[in-house]
Structure formats: structure tokens, C-alpha cells
């Protein structure tokens, strides 16, 4: 099963990549890990005329701590994030999410930036970056801008990254409070039927909870957060708050899980994620 023909180029710098992206208009597509794009191309559901292979832009691959932020280059692979020592010590939730993605081979190729920009409603990363209040650095030809995670995911497969922009970095405030990610995977694909990331900010006596897989767009479960604001985290308070995990959203349903079951999983996984985070 072959893709439609296309041209291929490997820009050497971010600026070159941005220039090419602009020059080709809507006909060019960035190629990072390729695990969403290439299968779609093989089915000929995607037929870009030009692929810009940015996987060797090493500058976009770094993982480092900078100014109270854990900065993860968009091209860092899931495997690199899962194994990184700084991540493990400063924000273990990211490592936990990275390790839950796909399988060993997919983690070796797939990148955090590729996953986030693809904005599959069942991807794992969005839950984590929402719960961690991450900021995303996005480069265009003229300017670089920061976007809060909460403003980033617009709709199914749609983010605030414009066609001529490139996501460069994901910045997470650290040290992040203890967190946990609990995922119920779709049996065949491994994508999330429901993934819940929870972060406990003990000092501020608040939690942050984000849910992926359940709605067309990943979301912060603000109802859960509000219900727990200022409260101690006990089995009872958590269980009561978790009931709001799918409030105010329209859950998706398909052959793998009905909307009702997804909403139920949001509650179950929120409970587990908060319990685990609170215990860490």
C-alpha cells in the first residue's frame, strides 16, 4: 500500500523549515515521527505534495531545565522523555505518560510535538500538558509566540498552530507537584478511550485534572478541580469530585466505547489518578 508521490526535503535549520513551509503554502507537511501522518498517507487520506523532514533539527530535541521550566523540544521522542533523568526528577508525570504511549517501537520514533500538533482526540500527551499548565512555544517566520496549553487545542485535529508555524518547545513549570496518569486503552490501537492526568499542588491546596479520549477536544475537568479546591484529598472528597469528570462536555462514542462508558471511565480514572497522585 503505497503513498501518493511527493517531494521530500530535509531543512537544516528551523528558519529554513519555516521558509519552506511558507513557500509551499498548504501543500507542505512537516514530517516528524510520522506515526500519524505516514499511515494516513498510505491510505491516501493525506496526500501532501511536499514533506519537510524536520527530525534532524537537533535544537528542537533538547530536554533541559531553564528558568524554573522543564523545557522539552518538540522533536524529543516519547522514549527519550520516558528515559530522561531531568524529567524523572523534575516532572515524573511526563515520563509516566511517555511510557504509556503506543509501544516500544512507536516510542522510539514518535515525538511529543508531532503528537500534540496532530491533536488526535485520543492521544495521551494533551492530558499531561493541560494538567501541567504547560506553555507551548510556536515559531513563525516573523515571530515566536507562547501559547498556554489551555488555548492550544481548538477542535478535533485542530490546534492554534497556523499552517506556516512550527511548534518548538513545550515548557512545564517545575517542580511540578506529584501527578499520575491513568489510561484505559482502546484494545486494538492502544489509543486512549479515556486518559486522565492529575497533578496535586499541595501548597496551593488545589489539583489540576485533564482528560483525553473522552471528548473531541482534550479538556481540563474544571468541575473536579473546583470541587477539591481547598479541600483535603480523601477517598471521599476525591470520589465526590470525580463525578464531575465529564460534566459539561459531549463525550464521544464509537464501536469501542459508548459515550456513556467513556464518561464513566473519566470518573473512574480521575478517581484513580487523584488517589495515586495524592499518595506520591
Amino acid at each position: 500500500m503505497s503513498t501518493a508521490p511527493f517531494n521530500y526535503t530535509r531543512p537544516k535549520t528551523l528558519d529554513e523549515a519555516l521558509a519552506l513551509l511558507t513557500a509551499h503554502g498548504g501543500n507542505a507537511k512537516l514530517l516528524a515521527g510520522g506515526h500519524s501522518l505516514i499511515p494516513a498517507m498510505k491510505l491516501r487520506l493525506a496526500q501532501p505534495k511536499m514533506l519537510l523532514d524536520i527530525t534532524r533539527l537537533e535544537a528542537l530535541r533538547r530536554i533541559e531545565e531553564r528558568d524554573g521550566r522543564l523545557v522539552i523540544g518538540a522533536l524529543a521522542t516519547h522514549a527519550e522523555i520516558a528515559a530522561n533523568r531531568t524529567v524523572a526528577s523534575r516532572c515524573p508525570l511526563l515520563a509516566e505518560v511517555a511510557a504509556s504511549i503506543g509501544d516500544l517501537q512507536v516510542r522510539n520514533r514518535g515525538t511529543i510535538g508531532g503528537s500534540i500538533v496532530h491533536a488526535d482526540p485520543a492521544a495521551d500527551w494533551p492530558a499531561a500538558i493541560l494538567a501541567l499548565d504547560a506553555e507551548l512555544e510556536i515559531a513563525g517566520r516573523m515571530r515566536r509566540r507562547m501559547e498556554a496549553a489551555g488555548d492550544f487545542f481548538m477542535d478535533i485535529f485542530e490546534t492554534s498552530v497556523e499552517p506556516d508555524e512550527i511548534l518548538c518547545e513545550i515548557r512545564v513549570p517545575v517542580p511540578a507537584g506529584p501527578g499520575a496518569y491513568v489510561k484505559t486503552a482502546q484494545k486494538a490501537s492502544g489509543f486512549a478511550l479515556c486518559g486522565v492526568a492529575a497533578v496535586v499542588d499541595a501548597k496551593a491546596r488545589r489539583v489540576r485534572v485533564a482528560v483525553t479520549g473522552v471528548a473531541a477536544v482534550p479538556y481540563r475537568a474544571t468541575g473536579v478541580e473546583e470541587a477539591l479546591a481547598g479541600k483535603p484529598l480523601t477517598a471521599e472528597t476525591i470520589a465526590a469530585a470525580a463525578r464531575h469528570a465529564a460534566a459539561d462536555i459531549t463525550p464521544l462514542g464509537d464501536i469501542h466505547a459508548s459515550a456513556e462508558y467513556r464518561a464513566h471511565l473519566a470518573e473512574v480514572n480521575t478517581t484513580l489518578a487523584l488517589q495515586r497522585a495524592a499518595a506520591r
Binding site: S36, A40, L45, A46, P121, A122, Q186, A216, H256
Partner: protein, 149 residues
Amino acid sequence: MKLTGTYRCPAPRARVYAALIDPVVLQRCIEGAEQLVRTAGDEYDVRMRIGIGAVKGVFSGTVRLADMQAPEAFTLHVEGKGAPGFVSGSARIRLDDAEPGTAITCDADGQVGGVLAAVGSRLVDAAGRRMMDRFFERLGREFDPPTTS
């Protein structure tokens, strides 16, 4: 795939109805509609470019208006095919007065076939809903007061 939605439009029912069966307005409101050409009384040839993330496809087909009961209701039949497969469906659209505008209820039943159905079933509903929401959002904007610039 069954989709239901209720939308509000800041204009009287008769004007909304007229807009909904006006091909020029329809083309503006259907995201990706590149052309809409009348072929018979209430039938149009349509060409649409649909893009959801990396998945993009050009569909060509027909749009037909039927069971028209101005200014209360009509049915929209859509058939289209393209490289990723085909889409077909119908939507019953009902208009009710809802001061100060009109409430539009849309009951759609659609079918997607080909590659799209085989690999995209989990996304078809969400994508369909998005297209429906966008359509009515754009329709609402048709009646926005003109902005002064």
C-alpha cells in the same frame, strides 16, 4: 451516524429559511464548499474540499432540497464521493420562532463509506458534528450586523 443539534440564529424565521435554501449562502456556510451549481430545480452539483488534520479529500456530488415547507422545514439530501470514500446523508431541518430570532433543529443521518469508514469510524461522528456546528456558526454570522471599519 446520527447527529442532532439545535442552533440559534439572530434573524426572523422567513429570512433564515430563505438563506438556508439560497445556494450562494449555502456555499458560504459549508466549510470547504468550492462550488455549488444548480442543475435542476432544487438540486445542485457541489464540490467540497474537506480537511480534518492531515486527512484531506475532495468530494464531488449533489445537494438536493426536498419536502420544503417554507418557512418551517425542509430536508437536505447530500451525496458525495471522493478518493477517501463517499458520504451520503440527509438532514431534516426545522425552524421555530425563538424571540428574538430563530431556533434551528437539525436531525441528520449520514453514512460514510470506503477508507473513511474502515479506518476513521471513531472520528466520523466528531468530524460530522464539527462540520454541522461550523455550518450553523457561519449561518449565524450571515445575519451579524455589518461591522464598521
